[in-house]
């Protein structure tokens, strides 16, 4: 029993309900009643809630896309535009970057500099590779007259995939600042908390990409 729990439970002048000494209660108490959680758990849980809300925002874009996918206004459809080998490469980049991001978080916990920096650099290179393939794809579509203004389908496509691309861009900037923070301040608890949030963010982007390559690219070109 910690002092915080003692402050929250024992010293309650009204002694609301619980016998804090009972071993039975120790096992059945809910999380909240055991007192304040650690800063790291609160931070990560708060960030988890943000990620869930971000996924909800993406679901609105997905719904928009699914509704508008047939409205090509005589313009090109996904079948004519999408290049699956490119998409497979993007998927591979992002998946491996998710893996190296996991390695970087282990490296941060192990306070191993070479491991952390190496894995983070690999994550950055793979993420930047993903982004450059995506931007090239967007540019070639725009050059073929299939920009976001061509049809409702393409507006929805660029909104959905472009929003994911913006998240990746933000993630890459965050990644660089994480490396700089570790370099400048070392493996302090708050830096490790930020690193934890970053890896959560990066893994969540890969989950959203799984939905994008399935719904947009694979279903858009399936036989």
């Amino acid at each position: 029993m910690t002092t915080i729990e003692a402050a929250a439970g024992r010293d309650d002048p009204n002694r609301l309900g619980h016998d804090w000494e009972s071993p039975y209660l120790q096992h059945t108490l809910g999380h909240a009643e055991r007192g304040l959680a650690s800063k790291r758990i609160i931070t990560a849980f708060g960030f988890w809630i943000f990620l869930v809300s971000d996924i909800i925002m993406f679901s609105a874009f997905f719904a928009t896309y699914a509704v508008l996918v047939g409205n090509t206004a005589g313009g090109p459809s996904g079948r004519e535009l999408f290049n699956l080998p490119n998409v497979a490469l993007e998927t591979a980049f992002l998946l491996v970057s998710s893996f190296t991001c996991g390695l970087a978080s282990i490296g941060a916990r192990a306070h191993s500099g070479s491991w952390f920096y190496g894995a983070m650099a690999a994550t950055f290179i793979l993420g930047a590779g993903f982004l450059s393939i995506e931007l090239r794809e967007f540019a070639s579509m725009a050059a073929r007259g299939a920009g976001p203004t061509r049809s409702a389908f393409l507006s929805a496509f660029f909104t959905l995939v472009g929003c994911h691309g913006l998240h990746i861009t933000a993630g890459l900037l965050w990644l660089l600042t994480m490396m700089a923070q570790v370099f400048a301040k070392g493996y302090r608890p708050e830096i490790l908390r930020r690193m934890l949030c970053f890896s959560l963010f990066w893994h969540a982007l890969d989950i959203i990409w799984v939905a994008i390559f399935t719904v947009v690219y694979l279903m858009g070109t399936a036989q």
Partner: protein, 394 residues
């Protein structure tokens, strides 16, 4: 080093999302965890990409399989990368995630359901071939239904009778001007042409012979005339010679006429022979074919054409009928918009180019034919498509 050793951790039993439980376990364990996740995710991705391009499975099952694989992969990511499990220490994280998933499903299912319903309610009703007037003074528009026809068509008919031995064009074939579309058995025409040629050759030979004969007779006559001036031969012989020269000249002239006739006949036979190849007169698309291989066709004007070819890249025509009271409001040049079921989200526009003055009376209601012309620059409009036309009255 494990998480539970961190000084900030007051509650070793609570776990933040994304945190691996490494109590006492080695870091290698964590890496192995990520490797398993990477392998599973890679496998699922490869299966997804393979299934989307395969013809091995029944087509409609592919989207279902893709969705199942995507959910499986998201699960792999959650468990192996985000380290979310169903254990009691993850209750808060899982509850937040479950709530998020609930909202996501509501948004997706709700949007798709509502939009599908709206599309259903907005779908055009029926395909009556009648004119309808949108009621109410605020709707000053006439809607009508017509069929798209090419503005210019060329019928291709047989010019000589015979048996069709090859058909190379069918409906929707693209043809160039001068491209063969069908062939009639050229045999009889070849024989006729050969015969004419032989006849012409013998007539020409006859002409040569008769010409030589005429020349010889003429020379003999000239000699006899010279002799007769010296009174060497009688007038009777001279007169006979003159007659035979005249006869030879007549024969030559007859031969020449015959040669000219036979030349004309040979030209006809050659033209007929050439006509057994039925060629497309224009660049365009075949819109109808009325001939079968082996069929005997004749070249009378009342027989239907073998093919009808529509020119490409020309305006299309739509014929529609409107009632007499609407015809007052519609003038030549009035703008019309129309839609075709093949491109439900696209509106085409054209202008009224003809209002046929003779009415068709149907149960004392006079209706007029109007023709709407529209450009067809991207060749989307094909003959035979039904068009729903809307003409806004001034």
């Amino acid at each position: 080093m494990s998480y539970s050793d961190l000084p900030n951790d007051l509650h070793p039993t609570d776990i933040a999302p994304g945190v691996q439980r490494l109590d006492g376990a080695e870091i290698a364990e964590g890496i192995r965890n990520y490797l398993v996740g990477l392998a599973l995710a890679t496998l699922l991705t490869i299966v997804s990409f393979f299934i989307s391009g395969t013809t091995l499975v029944w087509g409609p099952s592919i989207p279902v399989a893709l969705v199942v694989l995507a959910f499986a992969q998201m699960g792999v990511h959650l468990v192996f990368f985000l380290h979310i499990t169903t254990g009691p220490d993850h209750v808060n994280n899982v509850m937040a995630l479950a709530f998020g998933v609930l909202i996501v499903l509501l948004i997706l299912a709700g949007s798709l359901w509502i939009m599908a319903n709206m599309n259903y309610n907005l779908a055009p009703t029926g395909e009556t071939m009648q004119m309808q007037l949108e009621s109410g003074p605020e709707f000053r528009a006439v809607t009508a239904i017509g069929v798209i026809a090419p503005a210019a068509t060329a019928p291709v008919a047989a010019r000589v009778p015979g048996v069709i031995t090859s058909v190379r064009c069918d409906a929707n074939t693209q043809v160039k001007a001068g491209e063969p579309c069908a062939a009639i058995d050229p045999g009889p025409y070849k024989i006729a042409a050969d015969q004419s040629e032989v006849g012409l050759k013998s007539a020409e030979a006859q002409l040569e012979r008769d010409k030589a004969n005429f020349a010889a007779k003429k020379a003999a006559l000239e000699r006899q005339e010279a002799l007769s001036r010296r009174r060497a031969i009688s007038q009777k012989v001279l007169a006979m010679s003159r007659k035979s020269v005249e006869a030879a000249q007549t024969q030559t002239e007859q031969d020449e006429t015959k040669v000219a006739e036979l030349k004309a006949a040979l030209d006809t036979a050659k033209t007929n022979l050439a006509s057994t190849e039925i060629l497309s007169p224009i660049d365009g698309t075949v819109v109808s074919r009325n001939v079968e291989l082996g069929q005997t066709v004749d070249a009378k004007p009342e027989t239907p054409p073998l093919f009808v070819i529509a020119t490409d890249r020309t305006p299309i025509h739509i014929e529609a009928t409107i009632s007499a009271q609407d015809s007052r409001a519609i003038k030549l040049g009035t703008k019309a918009t129309f839609a075709v079921p093949a491109f439900p989200n696209r509106q085409f526009s054209g202008t009224v180019t003809q209002i046929r003055p003779s009415p068709q009376t149907n149960e004392h209601v006079a209706i007029y034919d109007v023709v709407i012309s529209a450009p067809n620059p991207d060749l989307l409009l094909k003959p035979g498509m039904a068009a729903t036309i809307r003409i806004v009255k001034d």
